[in-house]
């Protein structure tokens, strides 16, 4: 079996021979032939050119995997390197640090419906998942880089192409299929992303792709075109509900303070009335008691005086008829007792 070391050994031997030969040539040794010399020089030039093509550089952010006689040897980092040229050696320089992207369900701005439309696992009324499946339109972006260049290059077929695309679609559909549509559309986007990322990374590891998933991002999640209006209407309905609740709260905030104000007005007015009544009563009682105190000093006289004083006060302003029984006067003679009737001049008028 051929050993990789052998060409090196031969090479050394050849060099020794050449050194020896040049030494002889300078000394003007016998037997020199121009044709042979040209053959040897050409061979050496070809050898030098071939060896020179083994130099290569690895830029920052890149890694190179080198193979010798088909067998993977090692990974080299940035810098200037030499490795066996073809056909003995082979090298693959890859930008491992570059973040690559994969879009599912969309390419740029063009939706790809047969990728993006997928079934969700909505439960039926009995809560049995998947019995009332919906269809949702999901556009996903995966960002990834290479964590294991050896696997990436030699273990899986087309890792950054078909492999990751298959794995991504599988992971996304598996995750979306196990959730109700509202999780994916609204409430639990983050969860969906996180779970998809876990499932995807697991698949990629199983497939030995050497790919590291940096981020899984739901770009857009829509209700499919056919049912978009119905979904929008639910959003509107939720807004309507919120608005109505707001208005009801506003009503509450308007009515209750007013009622409390009115209540305060009622109780305060009543309190005022109470105090007023008590004050008046106390005043009147005191007034009565004061008068009574004076009255009791000479009851008869005071009583008479009070009576007459009252009469004095009352009678001057009013129209009076005084009827005397002794003079046979009858009330009937005075009727009708109205102001505009023709009456005999009242007595008061003469006084």
């Amino acid at each position: 079996m051929y050993r990789p070391e052998e060409p090196e050994v031969n090479f050394e031997q050849v060099l020794d021979r050449i050194r020896g030969f040049f030494g002889k040539f300078r000394l003007g040794g016998k037997g020199g032939s121009a044709g042979s010399l040209i053959v040897i020089v050409l061979f050496l030039i070809a050898l030098a050119v071939w060896m020179g093509s083994g130099f290569y550089t690895v830029q920052p952010g890149e890694e190179a995997a080198v193979r010798r006689l088909g067998k993977f040897d090692s990974i080299t980092g940035p810098g200037l390197h030499w490795w066996w040229p073809t056909p003995i050696g082979a090298r693959d320089v890859v930008k491992v640090a570059d973040v690559r992207q994969l879009e599912v369900g969309v390419r740029g701005n063009t939706p790809i419906l047969n990728e993006s439309l997928m079934i969700t696992g909505d439960p039926d009324e009995a809560g049995q998942p998947g019995e009332a499946p919906n269809i949702v339109d999901v556009q996903l972006l995966v960002q990834f880089d290479i964590k294991d260049l050896e696997s990436f290059l030699y273990r899986a077929v087309d890792p950054a192409g078909q492999s990751i695309k298959d794995a991504t679609e599988t992971a996304l559909r598996q995750v979306v299929g196990s959730r109700p549509i509202d999780d994916v559309l609204t409430d639990k986007k983050e969860d969906t992303q996180a779970e998809t990322k876990i499932v995807l990374q697991k698949l990629l590891d199983d497939y030995q792709t050497g790919i590291n998933v940096r981020e899984v991002k739901l770009l857009n999640v829509f209700a499919p075109e056919q049912v978009k209006d119905a979904f929008d209407d639910v959003v509107r309905a939720k807004e309507d509900k919120a608005r109505i609740i707001n208005l009801a709260d506003a009503y509450k905030e308007d009515i209750l303070p007013k009622a409390r104000g009115e209540a305060a007005r009622l109780t305060e007015a009543a309190e005022a009335y109470k105090q007023e009544r008590i004050a008046i009563a106390e005043g009147q009682a005191q007034q009565f008691l004061s008068v009574l105190a004076e009255y009791e000093k000479a009851p008869d006289v005071t009583r008479q005086r009070l009576y007459l004083e009252a009469m004095e006060e009352i009678l001057p302003g009013i129209t009076k008829y005084i009827i005397s029984k002794e003079q046979g006067g009858s009330l009937l003679e005075l009727l009708p007792l109205t102001n505009d009737a023709q009456l005999p001049p009242p007595l008061g008028a003469n006084q």
Binding site: F72, P133, I135, Q174, E262, A281
Partner: protein, 295 residues
């Protein structure tokens, strides 16, 4: 000496150029190879490196050693509950026995086609024994694991080691999708109606509660107000009654006088009998006697 060297170099180059490609071959990291002589497998090479073979007699066939994708085309399948799903499945596996692989299926493309056929038929059998909901959701993993278990021995006969079978897509056929959309629409309508109804419910509840509370607040205040007013009046009466009890007769007299003052306004007309107390002295005065004929 020089001539010998030159001849040796030329000779070596010629031999390397003619014999080398025939006697030596490199098996790459991604590959495996078998060496055949007139159809007989002489060597199976699974490790990368440089290998020797007999020139002109031995032939080398290379096979991929990497994990291969076996992508079955989407197929419309019937589930246990007689629903139709379009299922796209793929499998991952590798050629572990190139000799067996070559003997059974010859080429990679034929092997691929055979493997896909086996997987597709296993998938059909499996799907026919599962309900649609299971395929969509919870049991998808189990289903895939069962398919893998069943295809593994069959594909091992081809020299293939199967690692994974995955349902990539499970979609509704267009005519079923339409009915799903119709149901979705109905569900959303129900949901929207529910939201609006709940809004109306909360609205009515809040307003009714508010009205109730406002009424209670006012009524409580009214009650308190009436009690307070009553207390005021009671207290007033009490205060008054206390005072009056000192001399009810005098109060009655005095209060009557006050009442008269109010009753008789300036435009009132009164008829007074001449023998009223007021005129006691008007009639009974006897100027001659100089005495009062009073009480």
């Amino acid at each position: 000496m020089l001539k010998i060297l030159a001849i040796a170099l030329v000779g070596l180059s010629v031999i390397a150029g003619i014999i080398g490609p025939q006697a030596l071959f490199i098996v790459d990291e991604k590959q495996q190879a078998i060496v055949t002589r007139f159809g007989d497998v002489r060597q199976t090479i699974r490790d990368p490196g440089l290998y020797l073979k007999t020139p002109f007699v031995d032939a080398t066939t290379y096979y991929d050693k990497r994990l291969l994708t076996f992508d079955a085309p989407p197929d419309s399948l019937l589930t246990k509950d007689k629903k139709r799903l379009i299922i796209d499945v793929y499998a991952r596996g590798r050629i572990v026995d190139p000799k067996l692989f070559r003997e059974t299926v010859q080429t990679e493309s034929q092997g691929r086609a055979r493997a896909i056929n086996i997987i597709a038929s296993e998938l059909r059998t499996e799907i026919a024994s599962d309900n649609q909901s299971e395929i969509i959701t919870t049991k998808r993993e189990d289903i895939m694991a069962r398919i893998l278990e069943n295809v593994k021995p069959k594909l091992a006969e081809l020299g293939l080691e199967m690692l994974d079978v995955r349902i990539k897509r499970a979609d509704f056929p267009p005519e079923i999708a339409e009915s799903v959309y119709a149901r979705m629409q109905a569900e959303r309508k129900r949901k929207a109606d529910k939201e609006r109804a709940e809004g109306a419910e909360i609205d009515a509840q809040v307003r009714a509660t508010v009205d109730k509370e406002a009424t209670i607040i006012r009524a409580t205040a009214q009650r308190q107000a009436n009690i307070t007013r009553g207390e005021g009046e009671a207290r007033a009466v009490e205060i008054f009654a206390d005072a009056i009890s000192a001399d009810p007769a005098f109060y009655s007299f005095q209060r009557s006088l006050q009442a008269y003052k109010k009753i008789f306004q300036s435009n009132s007309t009164v008829v007074l009998p001449a023998d009223s107390d007021l005129f006691e002295f008007l009639q009974s005065y006897d100027g001659l006697n100089g005495t009062f004929d009073g009480q």
